[in-house]
Symmetry: C2
Subunit: 151 residues, 2 copies
DNA sequence: TATTGTTATACTCTATAACTATA
DNA sequence: TATAGTTATAGAGTATAACAATA
């Protein structure tokens, strides 16, 4: 694999951009006493109601890790556990109204924090950048979160 | 601030891309028993020999946190502490040969792991994507690591 | 007095192993 | 027997507070 320059430059940019975005997310999360993982959990739960094990697989975490994460968030009233109709062993996780409010505020904060950066591009360039990112993003590299188990 | 669509779409792409890249970095780090932060420390030390407090500021971490991070990495022989010539209170951190070897291997792994994603673009598109990212990346949003204190 | 770095302490995140209940 | 979830335990990452040494 001949290391071509365009790839190296792009990877460097993607990595730096990742650290930058993660820095923003970490800071904004911290301002609301939320870790990056908690942030992510709330974001995922915005439009899903997964079982513990599915959520763990989606996040690439062990189930025991998720127990603790959900415990703490539930104690703060941000999400709730409930029974699964079709499997008595399973527990589903859902966001609460308070959690939804918080995640909405967080989203606005992130938007505001990144605006100075994205604002350095013209609207047309923003669209183009988003378009160029699309192929890089599909399909996911790390986790393959199929709702239905199928291994 | 009228929420224009191009910004929202771009931010969504940047955040997703960040999680994807971080997932790759986390996985590859874990394969070598390195956390994301350790990975970052080694990367920074590749071409710098900062003092503890400067490195902490650069990473956005407390000095006490860095003490532990450096302890563990030093115990593994990846980096070393040394005295600062001009300030007897200060401690400088430097990467070792072993650390340099490891970071080199990690870099190749990251390149390999992201290749399938970046390979979905033509070389010309890769260059364009990297170019569009550049303004977004400059200057840093989160930390403003001035070598000399100036608050 | 202020700054640099370490240590003590506490909490979160994380995984592994052992366990209970259900499939 | 296998899977879903919890608990116990241990280690890493993180910050705050208190401290010693130096500026």
């Amino acid at each position: 694999m001949a290391p071509d320059d365009s790839t190296d430059v792009l990877i460097d940019g993607l990595v730096r951009s990742a650290f930058q975005v993660m820095g923003v997310l970490t800071r904004i999360g911290a301002e609301h006493d939320l870790s990056l993982t908690q942030l992510r959990v709330l974001g995922i739960l915005r439009d899903r109601r997964p079982r513990m094990s599915d959520l763990a697989a989606f996040l690439g975490l062990d189930k025991s890790t998720l127990s603790g994460l959900v415990d703490r968030a539930e104690r703060r009233g941000l999400l709730a556990r409930g029974p699964s109709p079709e499997d008595k062993r399973a527990v589903v996780v859902m966001i609460t109204d308070a959690g939804r409010d918080l995640v909405q505020r967080l989203h606005e904060d992130v938007r505001g924090a990144l605006a100075p950066a994205t604002g350095r591009l013209e609207p047309q360039q923003r669209r183009q950048l988003a378009e160029l990112l699309e192929p890089v993003l599909t399909p996911p590299l790390v986790h393959t979160p199929r709702p239905t188990a199928q291994r």
